[in-house]
């Protein structure tokens, strides 16, 4: 009975997709659910059109973060999963330790045209495991930026003649600016305060702006780094407590607050650039801009991560060599076409694209391109990276502290102890 039903199902799905026989298919998973997902969808369509009749990518976009990486890990363990997937470089040590990733040989990479020299040295190396093997090919470098509403900033006297905000550097100035921007019905700044990843990114940015070290030699927030972390959490808590930033705001809601003019500024990833660009194009957005996160402490620094492509290590059912070759060619194609991906706000990992005039002229990326020089990546550890214990800890301690449910000092201390405990 069930076999019959399954046959019927197969027939039904075959009808729905209309799969042609000779075509090679590549099963693709990503987590690109932000504004950049729209750009990736367009790129995927372009790829499929260009390779019509020979290769077809079948993409799936899963929930970003824990749901995505849980699926990847359990699928790989039972020999299921995609042929290729997006992966965060910050998670590389964790991914390699759980056996989710398949190493990429230098010969097969070369055969597909993927060259180490085409990428920044640090970026390329971050895609390697502790064993020195290459586990992924970078696609981009991405970071968080400050989106702003020019009209509201101008009203508050915070907009320079060049259309860029002024007077935001230094914690005192920043706080004063937030106070000034908060008026009846408008908050100064929206941040996804109910999203642990967003809280982590802001926290790590501000920690590094004062040379705070999150993890060194197996020790979390060692020495005076704890005090620095406390200061950062205290600062973030102040934004919410003073009514400058709405607390406990979900990711989509925090964007909606900004785009509907109910928040003058917005801190989020570059991947939401397309959301703004597309809204502005259809005339539904005010005059807006984006800049590098202001320097609240001693020097500029911004959290950054990198999207990369990887092949999962499907236990007992590995991706066949022929398919691997095809996948690597596909990866190469996406890097060659990553100017379109840069339209998703990102900095392309491919140096030829990065150096091209077309990218240098790309707006609004050039407005915040300076951040690349002072980008700081997540600690290299099996406890760090997207959907890792470090992100969990940010959600369990820094986030409630920011929302006023915990004292900053307690949050920093508990975060340290919790992670130190897991490091054993």
């Amino acid at each position: 009975m069930i076999r019959k039903l399954l046959c019927a199902a197969a027939a039904a799905s075959a009808l729905m997709v209309g799969v042609a026989q000779a075509k090679e298919t590549i099963v693709w998973w990503d987590f690109l659910g932000g504004g950049d997902g729209v750009r990736m969808k367009a790129l995927l369509e372009e790829f499929n059109k260009e390779h019509a009749g020979s290769i077809e990518i079948q993409p799936t976009t899963l929930e970003w973060g824990v749901p995505f990486y849980t699926k990847v890990q359990t699928s790989a363990a039972v020999g299921e999963g995609p042929d290729v997937m997006t992966y965060h470089e910050s998670r590389m040590p964790l991914g390699v330790s759980t056996g989710s990733l398949s190493p990429l040989g230098s010969e097969e990479l070369a055969a597909a045209g993927v060259k180490a020299g085409d990428f920044g040295a640090a970026d390329w190396k971050a895609a390697q495991g502790p064993d020195g093997k290459q586990y992924a090919v970078p696609l981009d470098i991405h970071s968080i930026i400050l989106y702003y509403n020019k009209t509201l900033l101008k009203q508050a006297g915070l907009l320079g003649d060049d259309g860029r905000p002024k007077g935001l550097d230094g914690a005192a100035n920043w706080d004063a600016a937030l106070a000034k921007l908060t008026t009846n019905g408008v908050s100064a700044l929206s941040v996804p305060t109910a999203d642990n990843a967003s809280v982590w990114r802001v926290f790590y940015t501000l920690l590094n702006q004062q040379d705070g070290v999150f993890l060194k030699d197996g020790k979390f927030l060692d020495g005076d780094n704890l005090a620095k972390a406390t200061a950062v959490i205290g600062e973030m808590q102040k934004w919410v407590k003073s009514g400058w930033t709405p607390g406990k705001t979900e990711y989509p809601a925090s964007i909606a607050l900004f785009t509907s003019g109910k928040a003058a500024m917005h801190i989020n990833g570059v991947w939401e650039i397309p959301t703004m660009v597309d809204l502005a194009k259809s005339g539904k957005l005010f005059d807006w801009g984006a800049i590098q996160i202001p320097t609240l402490y001693t020097h500029p620094a911004t959290w950054a991560d990198s999207h990369a492509f990887a092949i999962p290590d499907r236990h007992g059912n590995p991706v066949s060599p022929a398919k691997r070759a095809l996948v690597l060619q596909t990866i190469h194609w996406f890097n060659e076409h990553s100017l379109a991906w840069a339209g998703g706000g990102h900095l392309p990992a491919s140096l030829p694209v990065q150096d091209s005039q077309a990218f240098k002229d790309l707006k609004p990326n050039s407005d915040y391109a300076s951040l690349a020089k002072t980008a700081v990546f997540d600690p290299v550890s099996t406890l760090a990276g997207v959907a890792s214990p470090v992100y969990d800890a940010a959600g369990n301690f820094a986030m409630p502290a920011m929302n006023g449910e915990m004292a900053p000092a307690d949050a920093a201390k508990q975060m340290r102890d919790d992670l130190q405990n897991q490091a054993k």
Partner: protein, 285 residues
């Protein structure tokens, strides 16, 4: 005279209390229906209207765009088909197996009968979610993770259905059986020609409730399926991301589509559904 007046007085007081009780029930019923109504009406609003302040019980600009978007740009078609296949398979197998086992335990004497009955009662008490880890391992060993068979299999443990069949078969008068046996009917003929037709209502009720339960199941399909095209609808709508800005109305539209089949089944078979629920709780409706 006085006594009659007193009784009339009491009756009037009763009516006042009765009216208050009715109004309170009505208010509560409206409160209960509201979230469903509110969700439904939101799906007919354009995006900018969903984030407007104030309560608008009806859209100012009625639109079906959200449904059009969901139907064209998600794999909801796949999810529907998967939900339909797995729920139908679970229903057919569970009801078929339960009818056979219920009949055997009720009417036949055979070695191991007590053990089987004990097993059914034991499994009745055991929490299936506690078995998820080993169900997953077992499905992995059988190579059934990420297949529809793998989604169906652990749902087949449904002891209540067997217990109900047994109770109903127990209450079929012995005379019918004896008469049929004298006519030379085999056990299978007895089951299919006599016992099942006599309890046709029970079978439909059990089938409907099993189908609804399978359609609504979340935890196991969520674990057992890894790829988007094998997901059923309850999992798909929470796991697969639709990359766009303001998406309240779309999220709700896809939820309404997921609820539609069970809502229709319920409204069409209302009496059977309520009967089945009472049966599964051990009350003969």
């Amino acid at each position: 005279m006085n006594a009659v007046a007193a009784r009339l007085q009491r009756l009037r007081a009763f009516d006042r209390i009765g009216l208050i009780a009715t109004l309170a029930t009505l208010a509560l019923a409206i409160l209960w229906a509201f979230p469903l109504y509110w969700g439904l009406v939101t799906t007919f609003k354009p995006d900018d209207e969903t984030v407007q302040s104030g309560v608008h019980l009806w859209p100012q600009h009625f639109t079906l765009d959200n449904y059009a978007h969901v139907l064209t740009s998600t794999k909801i078609g796949f999810w529907y088909v998967n939900s339909l296949i797995t729920s139908a398979a679970v229903t057919v197998i569970v009801v078929g197996m339960a009818a056979g086992a219920g009949y055997a335990i009720s009417q036949l004497r055979f070695p191991g009968r007590r053990l089987c009955w004990w097993l059914i009662l034991a499994s009745f008490m055991v929490p299936i979610p506690a078995l998820i880890v080993n169900h997953f391992i077992l499905m992995a060993q059988l190579g059934l993770v990420n297949t529809l068979t793998g989604v169906v299999a652990p749902q087949l443990i449904a002891p209540v259905t067997i217990i109900i069949y047994k109770q109903f078969f127990d209450s079929v008068p012995k005379d019918f059986r004896e008469a049929a046996v004298i006519d030379g009917a085999s056990e299978f003929q007895l089951l299919f020609r006599l016992y099942l037709p006599m309890n046709w209502g029970v079978t439909t009720a059990l089938a409907i409730i099993t189908f609804i339960a399978a359609w609504n199941l979340f935890l196991w399909p969520f674990l057992a399926v890894t790829s988007e095209d094998k997901m059923n609808i309850t999992v798909g709508i929470t796991q697969v991301h639709d990359a766009f800005g303001v998406r309240y109305a779309r999220d709700l539209a896809v939820a309404m589509l997921a609820a539609l089949p069970v809502a229709v089944v319920y409204l069409v078979f209302q009496r059977r559904v309520t009967q089945a629920i009472m049966l599964s709780a051990g009350i003969k409706g």
